[in-house]
């Protein structure tokens, strides 16, 4: 078995790819944000609360959250995932919705819907995590009531090594890679999304979770900075 001693892009094992965040990228949306991690770029837009159709989906006690995850037609290299709507994007939309809904309080908006559109304009790996990270900033930008922020990152095991934020090359590692997308709330480190693809030892999973916490804390700082830049003079 080939051991993985040095990462393809010579990052440290606990280091994420270079990140960038910006809030208010879409003028006509109620809230919007962009999050870029390595070559992956996600844009999220929030619209609402607005009237919900079909009416049978309405909940008279609270509003509902509706997410739509989409890789844009030109986004990837085209060799693995076919962009656009499909089984995969439908599932990711659903898990994103569940990950975000757990911090939101929509009881102020009965019978309405909050629409979240996540568009990936460039994809490498970790798209659902980038999408969630952008979406929660957009939701905060939209002035919605929520108890906490969420940051999301993928961690994994490649060639026996536990590492943070796998890139595409690592995901496709020849001896198999374990990919674990995680979303964690900031305040009390609660997990709102955890998926796992591959086989992993219990100890390594714990190690991976610890790594995810550290990376998410860094992402959270970036989120705060981006939100601050939009709303305060000179970012003070």
């Amino acid at each position: 078995m080939i051991t993985y001693t040095k990462r393809f892009d010579s990052r440290k094992f606990d280091e994420t790819r270079p990140m960038e965040a910006k809030v208010g990228v879409i003028k006509r949306a109620d809230g919007s944000a962009m999050f870029k991690i390595g070559k992956t770029v996600a844009i999220a837009a929030v619209y609402g609360p607005k009237a919900l159709h079909p009416t049978y989906m309405r909940n008279p006690e609270k509003g509902i959250l509706r997410c739509n995850y989409n890789m844009m037609a030109f986004s990837g290299t085209g060799e693995r995932i076919r962009p656009g709507p499909g089984r995969r994007s439908r599932e990711i939309s659903l898990v994103t919705e569940k990950a975000l809904a757990s911090v939101l309080d929509l009881s102020e908006f009965p019978n309405t819907v909050i629409d979240v559109f996540i568009e990936l304009i460039q994809t490498d790996s970790g798209t659902r995590c980038a999408g969630i990270t952008a979406a929660i900033m957009a939701l905060a930008d939209a002035g919605l009531i929520m108890k906490d922020m969420i940051a999301s990152v993928s961690v994994g095991v490649v060639g026996g090594k536990v590492l943070a934020d796998l890139n595409k090359e690592e995901e496709d590692f020849e001896n198999g890679a374990v990919d674990i997308p995680i979303a964690i709330t900031h305040k009390d480190n609660k997990i709102t999304l955890l998926q796992l693809d591959g086989l992993i030892k219990k100890e390594q999973l714990y190690e991976a979770l610890e790594l995810a916490k550290g990376s998410c804390a860094k992402i959270h700082e970036l989120q705060r900075k981006a939100l601050m830049e939009k709303f305060t003079q000179n970012g003070i």
């Binding site: 109620d30 911090v103 309405t112 905060a140 002035g143 919605l144 108890k147 906490d148 709330t185």
Partner: protein, 228 residues
Amino acid sequence: MGLIVQDKQFVIPGDELATGIDYLPANGAYREDDKIYAAQLGLVNISGRLIRVVNLSGRYIPKAGDNVIGKITNIGFNGWMVDIGYAYEAALSLKEATSDFIERGSDLTKYFDFGEVIVAKIVNVTRSKMIDLSMKGPGLRKLKGGKIIEVSSSKVPRVIGKQGSMISLIKEATGCQITVGQNGKVWMLGSDFNKEMLAAAAILKIEQEAHTSGLTEKIDVFLRGSIK
């Protein structure tokens, strides 16, 4: 123990605001165990023992007592439906619309027709956000002519200014009649088109620079410069 943030500090959801039981969470804040956290992005406002977070963005949320500007979208047997910029329309009943005697089955369009714009007061909002309007009160009327622009509802206090200082500044400088709805819709009617445009430009400038200080002076300079 005590406060962790300062008045007017920018916070994001989940930020710790205070510890202990000396303070109470109001709008935009919540308590968990012995700590108070922000539940909203915004600026901290501390008044006495209350900590609240004032929102800086978001759509208009209807509140009883607000004066709003809306458009008639539907006419029923006993009233009108009005679009006030929330997810669902508000209802204006016959009783609250006029004190005239209206015979059963008469044509309601002679009071308010489709597409007409009114200033109304929200008298009641139910828990499921059904909204009742009234036309009984000072300044509540049908708006004829003029132009309407939209600003974010969270910027409305800035557009009005302290004791209406900002809005009366614009009214004086442009000679326009201006009505500001709490829902962010602003109506203006001037003696000519250019004056209306100037008033609109000033209001949009306020919205854009709402977070800066010394705004009234800036707008004063802007209006003086434009009138010459």
